[in-house]
Structure formats: structure tokens, C-alpha cells
């Protein structure tokens, strides 16, 4: 590859990023304003909302969705879909609970993380080898992983029998441990996306896969790596979940899949790839936690939840789409 095309690609990437950055600022500003306004309204109705305790409740409630959403976002930024999120969490939850109760938590954590890497490699290899949309490939894999979770558990739940309650606990009796894991994951991947070569390459591949390939990037390898990182994050989310609630169901993770998509997109991640910042993703996740918390604390009829959540996703994508078209 000659220098010239390399420079062109570099320019391309930079252009993509600065254009993206301008748009993201909008999405992030919008989310921040939304969070402040909603927070103010809720605080007026119920001052308890502003307590430290409630603040940590919100972060705790989104920890598991948050960790898995960050994994999914990596895949989305690279321009692919990953529908295995929920099913993979379910398999890992069952495996972790089974291993932990039989051979100890230490080995169980290592084992499921290794298996997470294996599952991620399988996802990445199949998506990059089979000539079909990753939506349908990962949908087929979702079906396989759900099946594995059911077969291993025989359709029954697996109890942790009280062992490994660490994620039920709080640091200094204040900060819930799952929230700490979530924040660490946020910080690590904020750095990865912004300051590492891998992060830049991820945006380049998602922004324009053709030019990324032509500039000599091993696109397939990076995609496989992305799916693997995502699977590791789903695994971490599953471990935290099982420890938190003390049992694993063969469907434990299922509810997180579409929630994660919604949080990522509200946070400014573009389906199709190339766009999305960690700040946006983080705010997107917090918005969901805030809404759920606000509905509870304002004593809103729980049957309104789905309508409110759906409408807010719509509003967010409509506004960011409008902003993009105005540019």
C-alpha cells in the first residue's frame, strides 16, 4: 500500500470523525438536557429523587443492561448486528451458576470468561465467513444459544445456594458493587474507543468498510475481535446478574437484548456503523434507568411503562434524525 492512499484514508477517517463529533455533540446535549429536565420534574414531585441513595439505585438498576449495551455498541459501531446478546447471557448465567456450585466460583469465573471468548470467536467467524446479513446469522445463533441454555439446565433454574453474593453488596455500604463494574467498563471502553488504534479502526470499518479494506486493514480480524469483546462483556454482565439475584434461569438474559439496542441507539450509536461515542452510550443507558426510576418514584401506573419508554426512544431517534438532516 502506498503512502498516498494511506493519507487519503487517514483524511477520510478524520473527516468522518469530525462530522460525527459535531452530530454527537447534538445527541449528547439533547440527552443531557432531557436528563436534567426529567430530573427536575421528578424532584419537584418527589424530593426523595435527589437523594444519594436513589442516585445509586438508578446506576445499580442499569448496571447489567449497561455492561451488555457497551458490548453491543462495539459491534454496532463496526457496522454489524449482534442479536446473540440475551441468549449468550442466558447460557453464561446457567453455566456460571452450574460451575460455581459444583467446582467453586474462582474456576467458574475463569471458565465462563474463556467460554465467552469461544462464543465470541464463533460469532465473529460465522459473521465474517457466511455471505449473509449479520442480523440473520446472529438470529440463528440466538436460537442455538437459547437452545443450549435450555438443554444444559433442562429448562429449570439453577440456584447459587447463597455462594458468591459479592454483587448484592455495597462498597463502604454506599456504592453498589455492580455499579462499580459498570463504571469501570464505561471508563475502559471510553479510552479504548477514543485513544486506541483499535477504537479508530472500529469507526473506520463501520464508517466505510470498503475504504477500510482498501487501506489494508484486516477488516475480518477486527470484526472477529469486536464480537469477542462483546461476548466477554455479555459474560461479565451475566456473572454480575447471577451473583446479584442468586439464581440463573435459562432465559435470564433474554430481556436485555432489545433494551440494549434501544439504549445504544438513543445514545447516538448508528445502526449501519461508524458512529457512537461512549458519553452518548452512557447517557442513553442512564436515560432508561432514569425513566424507570421516575415512573416508580412518581407513582405512575406501571402499565404506562412500555408506552413511555417506546415514545421516548421514538422522540430521541426522530430528533437526532432531524438534526442530521438539517446539517
Amino acid at each position: 500500500m502506498d503512502n498516498k492512499s494511506q493519507n487519503n484514508v487517514a483524511v477520510d477517517i478524520n473527516k468522518g470523525r469530525s462530522r460525527a463529533a459535531a452530530l454527537f455533540r447534538k445527541q449528547e446535549v439533547f440527552l443531557a438536557i432531557f436528563i436534567v429536565v426529567l430530573g427536575a420534574v421528578v424532584a419537584i414531585v418527589n424530593p426523595l429523587f435527589l437523594s444519594i441513595q436513589n442516585f445509586f439505585n438508578i446506576v445499580l438498576a442499569v448496571s447489567i443492561t449497561g455492561i451488555s449495551t457497551i458490548g453491543l455498541s462495539l459491534v454496532l459501531i463496526s457496522g454489524e448486528f449482534d442479536l446473540t446478546l440475551g441468549a449468550l447471557m442466558s447460557v453464561q448465567a446457567i453455566l456460571f451458576a452450574t460451575f460455581a456450585t459444583k467446582i467453586g466460583t474462582g474456576i467458574a469465573i475463569v471458565l465462563v470468561l474463556l467460554l465467552g471468548i469461544v462464543f465470541g470467536l464463533i460469532n465473529g467467524l460465522l459473521v465474517t465467513r457466511i455471505k449473509a446479513h449479520s442480523f440473520i446469522i446472529t438470529l440463528a445463533l440466538l436460537s442455538v444459544y437459547s437452545g443450549i441454555a435450555l438443554v444444559i439446565s433442562n429448562g429449570e433454574w439453577v440456584s447459587m445456594k447463597g455462594i458468591f453474593p459479592v454483587f448484592k453488596g455495597k462498597l463502604f455500604e454506599v456504592i453498589p458493587n455492580p455499579a462499580i463494574v459498570f463504571v469501570i467498563v464505561v471508563i475502559v471502553f471510553a479510552i479504548v474507543l477514543r485513544y486506541t488504534k483499535f477504537g479508530r479502526i472500529l469507526y473506520a470499518i463501520g464508517g466505510n468498510v470498503q475504504s477500510a479494506y482498501l487501506s489494508g486493514l484486516k477488516v475480518k480480524n477486527y470484526k472477529i475481535l469486536t464480537f469477542t469483546l462483546a461476548a466477554i462483556l455479555y459474560t461479565i454482565a451475566a456473572i454480575v446478574l447471577v451473583s446479584m439475584i442468586g439464581t440463573a434461569l435459562p432465559t435470564s438474559g433474554d430481556v436485555y437484548m432489545l433494551e440494549a439496542f434501544a439504549a445504544a441507539v438513543v445514545g447516538g450509536v448508528l445502526l449501519g456503523g461508524g458512529k457512537g461515542s461512549m458519553l452518548g452510550i452512557f447517557l442513553g443507558i442512564i436515560v432508561f434507568g432514569l425513566i424507570n426510576n421516575a415512573l416508580v418514584i412518581m407513582n405512575v401506573d406501571p402499565f404506562w411503562r412500555d408506552v413511555v419508554v417506546g415514545s421516548i426512544i421514538l422522540a430521541a431517534v426522530a430528533i437526532s434524525g432531524y438534526g442530521a438532516s438539517r446539517k
Partner: protein, 327 residues
């Protein structure tokens, strides 16, 4: 846009047309081969498989998802996603079961179909007017519709046992009425796809939206119409199900959303639009039914179903992708 570009895009469309034919042949051949292998295998273990009664059972069992999949496929062919299927299905099923005992089946059926139509039109209008991926828009709308259902029924199920049981029954005690319903929808869809201006318009819209727009096709109008028809078909499929099982509750349709997309793609509908035909879709749906039936006859635990279906989808995609690349 210059004339040259316009010609180029038209040329592109006709190119995809010709390669389409050969591709479909391949994908369908793969499906038929898989079915023959499964059928031989099952027949060796259990001769009942090949009985006329069992073959009708297989088709009857896929009539509900078959009708819904035609709706979902039409949306996919125009190049959009529709994740509202499950939510619309659940609400229309509930309406049908609620109204039929008091006001009669005509009112129940009308209400279900009209509700499906209204949901479909709303979905179409939002998708064509909000600048965002229809995956996320219909995900949000699905949440809103589910919420509307919950607000209406407050989480309660509705039952119409003894009323409108026609889709449980069989003509001359042999051919289930549910198969007739499925066949009517399949034939109507095949005729519309092949012989109407509407059919040609939706395929052109899906394969090259820009060219379709430039050649004077009212892209938005056709998209809204397709979502509306899909909504009616979701309503119709829910009527068949409720007639068979007599009860309806929230989330009754939830599992159909992704299953319909999987069946459609298995049958040769391409995510991204422009490709698909009714015979392929029917084969895709039928394969699902065949596998479920085979597993029952072979006494395999239902937990394995997801794994088997997932692996079959992956095999079919790999083979047809491979055949396509050889061309």
C-alpha cells in the same frame, strides 16, 4: 442527478433481477434438500411421519406463523424491518377473544383486522417520516403497542372458549381449515407479487429505492400500504391462533416477531430488500414446522428445537452464500 447516473441505477436494478432468479433456485433447492434429508431420517425412525394426517398436521401447525411471515416478508422486501409484529398480534388476539363472546365472531374478527390495519398505517407513517433505521423505530413502536395493549387489558387475559372454533376443525374431517386460510393468503400474495403494479413497485422500491423514486413510484405511499397490509395479516394470523386455542393474553405474539424474520430469510427474502418470493417463504416456514414435528415424532426434548433450527439456518445460509459466490 445526471442522466448517466440514472441509467446506471436502472442497469443495476435489472442486473439484480437476473441474478435473483438463479439465486432463488439455489436457496429453495437447499431448503428442499434439507427437508428431504430430515423426512427420510424421521420416516426410518417413525413411519407415522409420512401419513396424510401428519403431513396436514405439519402444514396446519405453521399456518399461524405462515400468514404472519407473509406480512413480515412484504415489509422486508421493501427494504424495511417490522418488529411490531408480536405486539400487534398480541393486541389483535386479545381484542378478538374479548369481543367474540359478547358481540359475535363478525365483530371480533372485524375489530382484530381493523386494529391491525390502524397499527400498520401508524407504523408506516412513522417509518416513512422519521429519519432513522426502521429496526429501531419499529422496536420503539412495538413497545408502545404492547403498552397500549397493557393499558387496555390491565394485564388480564381474555377467553372465548366455545366460540368461533372453525380453525380447529377440518373439511370432511381431513383438511384443516387453518391450511385453507394459509393457502388463500399464500396464493393471494403470489398473485399480487407477480401480476400487479403494486407487486412490481414494492420489489423495485426494495432493490433500489432511489431508482424507484426517480421512475415515479410513490415510495412513501407504497411503504405505508405495505405496513398496513402487514398489520392486517398479523391480525388475521392472530384470529387463526385464537380460534385454535380460545384464549389470548399479553405477549402471546412476542415469539413470532423474530421467528417470522428468520423464516422469511430462510426462504430467500434478503434483508435490505428487493428479493423474495412466496414459494420460498412457504418453504422457509414449512421447514420450521417439519423440524418441530420431526422432533416430536422422534421423541427428542423440545429444548433441542432452537439448536436444530439455528444450525439449519446457518447451513442454508452458508450453502446458498457459497453457491452465489461460485456464480
Amino acid at each position: 442527478m445526471s442522466n448517466k447516473e440514472q441509467y446506471a441505477s436502472v442497469a443495476n436494478t435489472s442486473m439484480t433481477r437476473t441474478s435473483k432468479l438463479s439465486r432463488f433456485f439455489n436457496q429453495k433447492t437447499v431448503l428442499v434438500l434439507i427437508m428431504i434429508v430430515v423426512a427420510i431420517f424421521v420416516t426410518i425412525i417413525n413411519q407415522n411421519f409420512l401419513s396424510l394426517k401428519n403431513l396436514f398436521n405439519i402444514v396446519s401447525a405453521v399456518s399461524v406463523i405462515g400468514i404472519a411471515t407473509i406480512g413480515a416478508s412484504m415489509v422486508l422486501i421493501t427494504g424495511e424491518f417490522d418488529l411490531t409484529l408480536g405486539a400487534v398480534f398480541s393486541v389483535t388476539a386479545w381484542l378478538m377473544a374479548l369481543l367474540t363472546p359478547t358481540y359475535g365472531a363478525t365483530v371480533g374478527i372485524s375489530a382484530a383486522l381493523v386494529a391491525g390495519l390502524v397499527f400498520g398505517i401508524v407504523t408506516g407513517l412513522v417509518v416513512t417520516n422519521v429519519k432513522a433505521n426502521s429496526f429501531i423505530i419499529t422496536l420503539a413502536l412495538g413497545s408502545v403497542y404492547t403498552g397500549i395493549g397493557l393499558l387496555l387489558n390491565r394485564g388480564a387475559y381474555s377467553s372465548m372458549s366455545g366460540f368461533f372454533t372453525i380453525f380447529k376443525e377440518k373439511i370432511f374431517g381431513i383438511i384443516p381449515y387453518s391450511i385453507i386460510a394459509l393457502l388463500v393468503v399464500l396464493i393471494a400474495a403470489a398473485l399480487v407479487f407477480k401480476y400487479t403494479k403494486f407487486g412490481r413497485a414494492i420489489f423495485l422500491t426494495g432493490s433500489n429505492q432511489h431508482a424507484a423514486y426517480l421512475s415515479g413510484i410513490k415510495v412513501k405511499f407504497y411503504k405505508v400500504t405495505v405496513f398496513a397490509i402487514a398489520g392486517v395479516l398479523y391480525g388475521l394470523s392472530s384470529i387463526v391462533l385464537v380460534s385454535q386455542i380460545s384464549v389470548a393474553m399479553n405477549y402471546i405474539g412476542a415469539s413470532y416477531t423474530l421467528a417470522a424474520i428468520a423464516a422469511a430469510v430462510l426462504g430467500g427474502v434478503v434483508l435490505g430488500g428487493g428479493k423474495g418470493d412466496v414459494l420460498g417463504i412457504f418453504l422457509g416456514v414449512l421447514l420450521f414446522g417439519l423440524v418441530s414435528n420431526a422432533m416430536i415424532l422422534m421423541n427428542i426434548k423440545p429444548y433441542w428445537r432452537g439448536i436444530v433450527i439455528g444450525v439449519i439456518i446457518l447451513i442454508a445460509l452458508s450453502v446458498s452464500g457459497y453457491l452465489e459466490s461460485k456464480e
